[in-house]
Amino acid sequence: MSESMNSKLEDRRDFLKASALVAGVAVGPGVLFYGIAHSRSPEEGASSKQRWGMLIDTTKCAVGCNDCVTACNTENGLSGKTGEQDSQWIRKLNIKHLQTGVEHNLPMLCQHCENPPCVDVCPTGASMKRADGIVLVDRHICIGCRYCMMACPYKARSFVHEPLTEQNPEVPRGKGCVESCTFCVQRVDRDETPACVEACTASGHQAMLFGDLNNPESDIAKAMKTVATTEVRADLGLNTGVRYQGI
């Protein structure tokens, strides 16, 4: 099912890519080569030996606990307001089975997809995936078109609707750009875990595990081998870096 969908998507992309080539040649090679010369490599500063990921145990995630959300807001300088126009990088989601009534609680955040639709659709390349799997928005290239928000299946992204003040210098954010969870890349690059994971552990719930999926010795890789995990919207074939257990 997801395979056929993927191949359908691929077909459509191929066709359109081919048309683009024709277009580029017809319009003027200058435009085409200018574009290529300027496309940036998103690999800077990260290694493809790693793939950062997160495993969330929904059975341990406590009802009413919001510690991960608060920690994220503090770390990344978000206001914590929850209006329709406010940014939320991580949110507590309650899901209730329509037939059985079983409920689960879980934090929902950018799933750091291996095949991220946000990156595919971004016209400028501002949405990008680092070699280590972390999906980021380059604040300096984002033009604020919001196409990535349309494309993300998890509603993981927010648009900054108003001017911001008192920012964390490590976390550049700004009016008119789109943003989302970065796995606290500034911390990860210092060998720390994301703020949400740290807060969840500190609260004693231990529902979030962060680590390198490519390293067989890591806790997360070991856990993924022993328990049944769920990829949200697995049918889309995005191979998410965030997985859930207990659903």
């Binding site: 574009g35 940036r40 209730k96 659709v121 016209p123 400028t124 919001r146």
Partner: protein, 404 residues
């Protein structure tokens, strides 16, 4: 027929009217620009757009214009690719409108960006995987090709190029609308857009919307010059519009019927077709009735053969219905919540699982109409200084060439 036909507005000497139109368009444009600077300063917080409805009214108007721009070129294409005389006489106006309408649509898209100051970034950084970036390339190419096409019509020396470039323009704009439709077709995660039918459907819509825009502008120009449209021409345009509108209705029906076939799309279809409030109303009342059945009824009414006004009203209705369709497609498609966990009810502080509300602010309304104002202004100036009036009876227009 009027005796003193003027080939462009300048010749008619009706300067007061011209300046009046220019002032009118200029005032709307002024409103748009002030809304733009206001939003640029305060941010999108002053719009009704949110993190749930990320594309709103500006996109409804912009995408309508972009789609109509490619469709309006149809008239010229039928003239040059298929060699129909009556359409050839309208080719210039058709090509001009394709350029001005596209300018209007793109202007709104750019003015609505979160960082419009980075337009140069959008022009120089291309992610070739992105269908959006492809669209930008198609738009640029469209300007270049249609511009050349127009030149081949205006300059006799370039006449040998008229046909080949006409052909290129024809193919290019089919590709362009395919790409525009694919902007939505690519959003696989959203129930409202998950259909490969979007691209061909947008082509059909573009035919109908484009022709409707053409008919309205032509009617205005004829009125201006006190010319009455030839009955045979009226009849042809009428039938063509009817064909396109009927085809658009057909595609709409197919889209929803195929969606009903897939169980996972039922919830969305129920939302759109019966429980969606404003979206349901706009779909049935706006897109289907006002923009579809009513124009057909008018076109086939007994009086329509002799009454240019009836065709004009039908065309205006198609344009209104087209905006309703865009609203349903763009805003309605986002209003329906994403289903991350099929079979579960979802709730959160981020409005998961609920139908998202959208009420546009006056600022984004002012921004949205800027596209129409842009189109209107450029068209008004162009038809005044150059020769664009469709001329059915004049055999040799050479005496006036170069009088601008």
């Amino acid at each position: 027929m009027a005796n003193n036909i003027c080939l462009n507005q300048k010749e008619c000497g009706k300067s007061t009217g011209f300046w009046l139109l220019l002032t009118l368009g200029g005032l709307v444009m002024l409103g748009t620009l002030s809304a733009f600077f206001f939003l640029e300063h305060h941010g999108h917080i002053k719009t009704g757009m949110t993190n749930q409805i990320v594309w709103g009214l500006p996109h409804v108007f912009a995408v309508f214009l972009i789609v109509a721009a490619s469709g309006v070129l149809n008239v010229a294409s039928i003239g040059s690719v298929f060699g129909k005389k009556m359409y050839k006489a309208r080719a210039r106006l058709s090509a001009l409108l394709a350029l001005t309408i596209l300018s209007g649509g793109l202007a709104v898209l750019v003015l609505d960006l979160g960082r419009p100051d980075r337009l140069i970034v959008a022009m120089t950084y291309y992610n070739f995987k992105s269908i959006f970036a492809l669209n930008m390339i198609f738009y640029n190419g469209f300007f270049a090709i249609v511009g050349l096409y127009l030149l081949t019509m205006m300059d006799r020396k370039l006449k040998p190029w008229y046909k080949p470039i006409g052909m290129l323009a024809f193919l290019w704009r089919l590709a362009l609308t395919t790409a525009t439709g694919s902007i939505f077709g690519f959003l696989v995660a959203r129930a409202g857009y998950n259909s490969a039918l979007y691209a061909p459907m947008f082509i059909i819509y573009s035919f109908a919307y484009g022709l409707a825009c053409f008919i309205v502008v032509q009617a205005a120009m004829y009125k201006w010059n006190d010319i009455e449209i030839d009955e045979a021409v009226l009849c042809r345009l009428k039938n063509l519009l009817a064909t396109f509108v009927a085809a658009a209705l057909y595609f709409t029906a197919v889209l929803h019927l195929t969606n009903l076939y897939f169980a996972k799309q039922w919830d969305f279809e129920r939302f759109l077709l019966s429980d969606g409030g404003i979206y349901t109303l706009l779909f049935w009342g706006g897109q289907v009735m006002l923009g579809g059945f009513l124009p057909l009824l008018l076109i086939f009414s007994p009086g329509a053969r002799k009454q240019p006004a009836i065709l004009l009203i039908a065309a205006l209705l198609v344009i209104i219905g087209g905006h309703a369709q865009m609203y349903v497609t763009i805003v309605g498609g986002q209003a329906f919540p994403l289903d991350m966990f099929p079979g579960y009810a979802e709730s959160s502080s981020f409005f998961d699982g609920v139908v998202h509300a959208y009420s546009p602010s006056v600022w984004e309304m002012m921004l949205a109409v800027g596209g129409i104002a842009t189109t209107f202004l450029i068209t008004t100036v162009a038809v005044r200084v150059l020769k664009f009036l469709p001329e059915d009876e004049i055999k040799d227009p050479s005496s006036t060439v170069g009088q601008h």
